[in-house]
Amino acid sequence: MAKVFERTNGLVDIPTHYCPGCTHGIIHRLVGEVLEELDVLGETIGVAPVGCSVFAYNYFNCDMHEAAHGRAPAVATGIKRVHPDKVVFTYQGDGDLASIGAAEIIHAAARGEKITTIFVNNAIYGMTGGQMAPTTLVGQKATTSPFGRDVSHAGMPIKVSEMLATLDGAKFVERVSVHNAKEVRKAKKAIKKAFELQLSGEGFGIVEVLSTCPTNWGVTPVEALSWLEENMIPYYPLGNIFSPKEAK
């Protein structure tokens, strides 16, 4: 019988620690598949963040480097400058990338650092128990915005992809989602494109992936998928925001 689906060699064969229904696992799998298909696992160095995906260094089947909260783009810069011929990527949550590490990601993009960033936006801090993130939606409740995010108090959520796309060093910026099979396929395409652009030496690439956190959103995994679709996508529209084609 023909095999139609198998484990990707891009991930190590061990169980992950993610909550049931969390889409971090899907995103890991997509990155793993892409690295395997591009046949670069032996040439890749990944940088894991602080957040629920802190253990990403145990899951990807390539060399991995753990970074302090928000600093992954700086760590990746150090690695890439030493090994310009290697594939270097960061995997970061929205608290990690858009809050404490805002400067690091902006400047890595501005320098046109030839790395790929997988930016997992679940509109909340997962690991520390559901506090407000810079990406938490207006009115969304979190443990540190118990009455819902109030714009007059906490400002508007940051649209990271749009912001980074204003920087000339950012050569590929796309926002995708993983709330259904069709979007998962599109997400994989974008991730592959971003890595291909790194391989051809274009410059900085980021794929923002809208992701769920059923645990801290306080909903079931299925409800989380619809919550993402109904609430996150209207504020964080999907699609390619910047790619080399459009630059010309």
Partner: protein, 353 residues
């Protein structure tokens, strides 16, 4: 070898490049700017990379990445900048990576000033980053010694897989002296089989990490680090002793302060007094052994620092109550004069202190 006249900051850069340092990540702050500027000019010519980071926080994390990737790498800053680098230094120590960090100290707290000071003694020897970690701290007193120690620092860092800090006050960074570049002694350095440079499909993935969620695993890790720190203490502690066993008064001073103290001691000797000097060259590990030479003849120990008194804590631990320990210091960028130090020495000799 011929001697060349060089400014401290530039001599550090030249020494680093001679020692094989190919990567430098930094951020401007006075009084160390000539060092990153030198690296920006010189590194591209030897196939290396200088990168001006967006902040000290980013710079030290670039060092963390480059060190993990297997490179010889350095960063430099001055006091407030080193404060920002402490986060990264803790991670580098935790992940056991080699790198060299230069601190050309200026006065504080806060923005303080830009004049020479030694008020970062606690910051450099006690950490500032979180957790149980240590790193070697070299405190050279001349530009020649700075060059020698910087060259050796890269090997020491790799031998122990640990960050090494070289601290000079603003004086070391800014003055000019003749220097000669000598090969450091050979050290046992294992190949970097742990580096994240791609598995090439030939080995299991390498992971550079400082996270140990299991408390037992973390304790084991920290205790293993502690053993390494004991090795460093045993093998790498350095100091200079001058006339300690014959002294009525023993002065303790490091860096450029020790040079002023030497002038003060010469003046005392002209007047027939016997004054000794203990000059720590490593601030961590602190040279406790140097104090064993102090005899019953000595009336007291005088610690001289360009701070309100920080190293004095280590001096007191080393003296362990056997002699009274006194302090004289200037701070804020003020430099002690030999005459003021002579006065303090005399007070101790006369039993007035």
């Amino acid at each position: 070898m011929t001697k060349v006249l060089m400014k401290g900051n530039e001599a550090i850069g030249a020494a680093a490049i001679k020692a094989g340092c190919n990567y430098f990540f930094g951020y401007p702050i006075t009084p160390q700017n000539e060092l990153p500027e030198y690296m920006a000019r010189e590194l591209p010519g030897v196939g290396g990379v200088f990168l001006q980071a967006e902040s000290e926080v980013a710079a030290i994390n670039m060092v963390y990445g480059a060190a993990g990737a297997g490179a010889r790498v350095m960063t430099s800053s001055s006091s407030p900048g080193i404060a920002l680098k402490q986060e990264g230094i803790s991670y580098i120590a935790g992940a056991e990576l080699p790198c060299v960090i230069v601190n050309i100290v200026r006065g504080g707290p806060g923005l303080g000033g830009i004049q020479p000071a030694q008020s970062d003694y606690y910051q450099s020897t006690r950490g500032g980053g979180n957790g149980d970690y240590r790193h070697l701290v070299y405190a050279p007193a001349t530009i020649q010694e700075t060059v020698d120690l910087v060259m050796e620092a890269f090997d020491v860092a790799e031998q122990y897989r640990n960050p090494v800090m070289v601290i000079g006050d603003g004086m070391i960074g800014q003055m000019m002296e003749p220097v000669e570049f000598k090969e450091p002694k050979k050290r046992p350095i294992a190949p970097k089989t742990w580096a994240t440079d791609g598995t090439k499909g030939k080995r299991k993935p390498n992971i550079i990490n400082s996270l140990f969620i299991d408390p037992q695993e973390l304790e084991d890790h920290v205790l293993r680090l502690e053993k390494k720190y004991d090795e460093i203490k045993k093998n790498e502690t350095r100091y200079e002793n001058y006339n300690v066993s014959d002294a009525d008064v023993v002065v303790v001073a490091y860096g450029t302060t020790s040079r002023i103290v030497k002038n003060a001691i010469a003046k005392c000797e002209e007047e027939g007094m016997k004054v000794g000097l203990i000059r720590p060259i490593t601030l961590w590990p602190f040279p406790d052994n140097a104090f064993e030479e102090i005899t019953d003849k000595t009336k007291g120990v005088l610690t001289v620092e360009m701070s309100t008194g920080q190293m004095i804590d280590d001096v007191k631990i080393a003296v362990n109550g056997k002699k009274p320990v006194h302090f004289y210091g200037r701070t804020g960028g003020m430099v002690p004069t030999p005459d003021a130090i002579v006065e303090e020495i005399k007070k101790i000799a006369r039993g007035e202190k």
